[in-house]
Amino acid sequence: MAELTGSQPAGSLTSLLGRESVPTTQKRHRGGWRQAFYWQQLLPALLLIAYGAVVIWSASLNISSANFPRHMMGIVIGLAAALFMRSYDYRALANMSTALLVLDAVLMVMPRIPGLGLSAMGMTGVVRIPIIGFTFQPSEPAKIVTIFLMASLGAQFNGKIENLKDYVRLCAILTVPFLLILVQPDLGTGLIILVTGAAIIIVAGPRPSWVLVTIGLIVGLAALAIVTSMTPGLPHVLKEYQLNRLIVFVDPSVDPGGSGYNLQQAKIAVGSGGLLGKGIGNASQSGTGFLPEAHTDFVFALLAEEFGFVGAAGLLALFAWTIFATISLAQRIEQPFAKLVLTGVVTMWSFQILQEVGMCMGIMPITGIPLPFISFGLTSMVTHCLAIGVVQSVWLHRSKPA
């Protein structure tokens, strides 16, 4: 068992940072600010937030709803939330699975409470807090809650789930937030919850055969849902627009004016960026309305058009840096709870990147999922900052006994 932390961790810590070996005792105070944060993960994340601020600022030049001060406010609130999260001892959550499940369910149900929920774009996922009039999407922070929920449950098995009943119970609990978000309806966020929770369960150590059977069941159920939705007379599980998005994903030419139009315009925006891009404020596709939602759902297309291959590949490199740094921490930390929490964070980021970037390039179906740290949207920004805070909290509390 790796004793990563403890009373004399400094030597191993600095080597963790990939730097030269430093005599520990003398450098403790001078190196304090270095050790206070897990820079390997924090630095690329902060660079991503700065990058996103530049992108949203350039979008605000042309798109009136891309309100740059509001974006900056999101960053400030997010960083404050991250600092709070960092200093909070996340390990306390390991034994609060019931409370987490309740909180998760409350967040998912919030938009449906009369007086709180707002109808926006056919989805009722937005909540307005009375009195201060602040709107936010509870399903975003619910992703973090779900990560903690699944990690707290999965950590009990110390890396090996021996009993099929335990495995089934884990899966059943995951379906609670998943189904609650699905009926909102928000298929996109539902998929993130499902994939993130599934990754935590898999890393928690079930038998591979169980996982394969479960995946087989999910694929079968999904296929059944699509087939029944396409067959007249049978109950339609998927909404018409969801089905259309899937159809358009397979063949964009069926509906070039509707859903296919967005996909086509996004691809033109990305492709026309070329090597070096068109420069800030010169995005003819994203800046002049050909590409809708260029600052939120299709923000990667805007970025790729303005900054070209160099800028887009740079973005992916920053994501790679922060993701692999997080995985690296997960490998080194010894508590299963921490490993599973970091697994959830990594999976959430990876899947959202795949979904958002892939959608802009026509390799994923269209869903309204924001790109972490970049997309305009206060709740999303705060949520992902919170995730940074979680990673930093794991780092900060590595030395204390669980």
Partner: protein
């Protein structure tokens, strides 16, 4: 350079990824070693197998994330570096629109520079496309102009000149409308009055059949212009105004200007964000015709007056005729008139139904037809000079051969007797006097001679050598070729009849020799043939284009070069005989006819003709050239169903000659001999 840069960047990115993964694994190794040295903690309880399980599963998580990023990078590479040009073009076509402005058409001038067709300014109300969203404004506009609301709306919705173009709502609006719009700009946002040009024919119907008219482009013309083989280099849009007949049609590629183009940048809603390169419209070139407006006017007035006189004088079916004057030395058409005529101005801005019905009705005599080039008639006696050449060429008769006309000819036996037009008989005749007195019997003999000769189609061959049966190639549309009938034609034409009816008969040959029956010619063909007689064998291709002026500046771009269409070889003595015979027509055939020409300084040679059709008044021909000594002009005229040539078209020919030489006809003598 760019590619190298890209490869370096990507190699660096790949190295960073590789480093992160490898470093990850190496750190893992280090901690595994640490494990050995450290005591198990209270949090433990898990065994080594669980720990290695976590390790490999987290490793799998790294592969999961790495694969996602790798796939996205590969896709990015393919889109932004491999297919970038394609997407860039799509983005460009997304954001650029072309707005066009019409170019003025070239003018059409007569040989002395008189404007026959020009463009006049027209006050036009135009509106921005966005006005269509403002129902109140459209209603106001409709009330002001006096148009139905729906018509205004339709005009503003018309995108044929480009989605961002100003839409033409109404042309030729009154000063009152202009003043109101300009004083109440707040009521009419997006609406303005601009000065545009419209086609204008200042001389009204003058030379209408030469000039033609313009109209909105037809689908065929549009398709033709989009054909890649189209050499004119002009591409049209729907709604373009193009020539539809006459010179307007023939020289469309010269007259049509080059449309101005403006590239504008737009956003997704079509709002113009910026202007890019623009090309100013280039007006079409001016076309100078060979027509002399004065002679043309004289021809039209004379034709109209003569037709009216004949119509009022009892020839109630007489409403149509035509006349043409050509310079025999180069083929220039000095005047070309066809009656009834029309005013091309009615086509400007779209012809209304009433006008169109009037122009296409049989009762009105089909005014749009240019009878000089499209009218096909039996040549009647005007063919006799050509028959004379044939008779001499093929040895059917000689200059000395004598004929005797009793008024009734029985060359094919008593049962098949044929009258000369002069039933009392011309008495002793030769080929020359046969022309002068238009004696049919002489040509019955010629026809019979060919019918029995070993070259029975010598007549047809001679006619064709003189240009009959084929288009002259004048630079005007819708020219007809006429018909020179022969045995093969007749056999095929009557393919359902009995064999003996289909076969060529002696009567067909005699009919052919006097220009009746199945022979069809156009007035233009006869004028050209007589021009060839005047020049002793050289027929110039008739044309109406003199030159094309440069669109910019004052220079001439194209000067029409005359072209010989037929060079006819005949013995000089034959020409002497024929021309003497034609002179005799003018000065000897009829004293009254002679009176109209002796008052001219120039010697004239010509021929009357009278084409007969059952149940109709005859159609009169007159073809003449002058001066005989050094021929310059040939003038031909024909009046449908107005009686003999000597009483109808002869006057028109004389008037045209009078206009050319400024020697008006002072005689009021009327022919009573019925000379044909």
């Amino acid at each position: 350079m760019g590619r190298v840069f890209v490869i370096i960047i990507c190699a660096l990115a790949a190295l960073v990824l590789l480093y992160l993964v490898v470093r990850n694994v190496s750190h893992e190794g280090r901690y595994s070693m640490d494990i050995g040295g450290a005591a198990p903690t209270a949090a433990g309880g898990s065994d080594n197998s669980a720990e290695t399980g976590f390790k490999s599963r987290l490793h799998g998580l790294g592969i999961f994330s790495g694969t996602i990023l790798g796939v996205l990078l590969a896709r990015l590479w393919s889109m932004q570096l491999m297919s970038s040009d394609n997407y860039y073009q799509q983005a460009e076509s997304n954001r650029t629109r072309t707005v066009t402005t019409d170019a003025p058409r070239g003018r059409i001038l007569d040989r002395n520079g008189v404007e026959l067709v020009t463009n006049r300014p027209s006050l036009t109300v135009v509106a921005d496309p966005s006005v269509v969203d403002d129902e109140v404004e459209m209603q106001l506009l409709a009330n002001l102009i006096g148009m139905p609301y729906l018509a205004v709306r339709r005009k503003i919705q018309d995108q044929s000149a480009g989605a961002q173009s100003k839409r033409t709502v109404a042309v030729d609006v009154s000063r009152r409308v202009v003043a109101y719009v300009e004083e109440h700009t707040h009521l009419f946002p997006g609406v303005e009055v601009v000065e545009r040009t419209e086609r204008y024919y200042p001389c009204g119907s003058l030379a209408a059949h030469v000039l033609g008219y313009t109209g909105t482009i037809t689908q065929e013309q549009l398709d033709w212009s989009r054909d890649p083989n189209n050499e004119s280099g002009i591409t049209y849009e729907e709604g373009d105004i193009v020539g539809q007949s006459g010179v307007e049609w023939q020289y469309e590629s010269v007259l049509q200007g080059i449309r101005g183009e403006q590239i504008v940048y737009v956003d997704a809603y079509g709002t113009v964000l910026d202007h890019s390169s623009s090309v100013a419209p280039q007006s079409g070139s001016d076309v100078v015709l060979t027509i002399d407006a004065n002679v043309q006017q004289a021809a039209e007035e004379s034709l109209e007056r003569r037709i009216k006189l004949l119509h009022d004088g009892g020839y109630t079916a007489c409403i149509a005729g035509c006349a043409v004057a050509i310079d025999v030395t180069n083929g220039e058409v000095i005047a070309l008139a066809s009656a009834p005529t029309y005013n091309p101005n009615v086509f400007v801005g779209g012809i209304n139904d009433d006008d169109w019905n009037a122009l296409s009705s049989e009762d009105g005599g089909y005014p749009l037809i240019n009878r000089v080039v499209s009218g096909q008639y039996p040549s009647a006696s005007t063919i006799k000079p050509l028959g004379t050449f044939a008779a001499l060429d093929y040895g059917i008769a000689s200059e000395q051969t004598g004929f005797y006309c009793t008024g009734f000819w029985t060359g094919f036996g008593e049962d098949y007797g044929q009258y000369c037009w002069d039933h009392s008989g011309h008495g002793a005749m030769t080929l020359q006097t046969g022309i002068t007195y238009s004696c049919d019997v002489v040509y019955y003999e010629v026809g019979k001679g060919f019918f029995y000769s070993d070259q029975p189609e010598g007549l047809q061959e001679t006619y064709r050598r003189w240009g009959l049966g084929a288009e002259t190639g004048i630079d005007l549309p819708s020219e007809e070729a006429g018909r020179v009938p022969d045995a093969e034609w007749k056999w095929n034409y009557w393919d359902t009849a009995a064999d003996d009816v289909r076969a060529w008969q002696g009567g067909d040959s005699t009919n052919l020799a006097i220009g009746q029956g199945d022979l069809l010619v156009t007035p233009l063909q006869m004028a050209c043939a007589y021009g060839g007689i005047a020049t002793r064998g050289t027929i110039w291709r008739p044309h109406v284009l003199k030159s094309v002026r440069s669109a910019t500046g004052t220079g001439t771009v194209i000067e029409h070069s005359p072209e010989i269409s037929h060079s006819v070889q005949e013995d000089s003595s034959y020409f002497d005989l024929v021309i003497r015979g034609l002179e005799g027509v003018i000065y000897e055939e009829s004293p009254a006819q002679a009176e109209h020409f002796v008052n001219m300084a120039e010697t004239v040679a010509g021929k009357t003709g009278t084409a007969e059709r059952p149940d109709q008044e005859p159609t009169g021909w007159f073809v003449a050239f002058l001066p005989v000594e050094s021929p310059k002009y040939v003038v031909a005229s024909l009046i449908e169903q107005g009686g003999f040539g000597s009483q109808s078209s002869m006057y028109v020919v004389r008037d045209i000659m009078g206009a050319i030489y400024n020697e008006p006809d002072t005689s009021d003598a009327v022919d009573t001999t019925g000379a044909r």
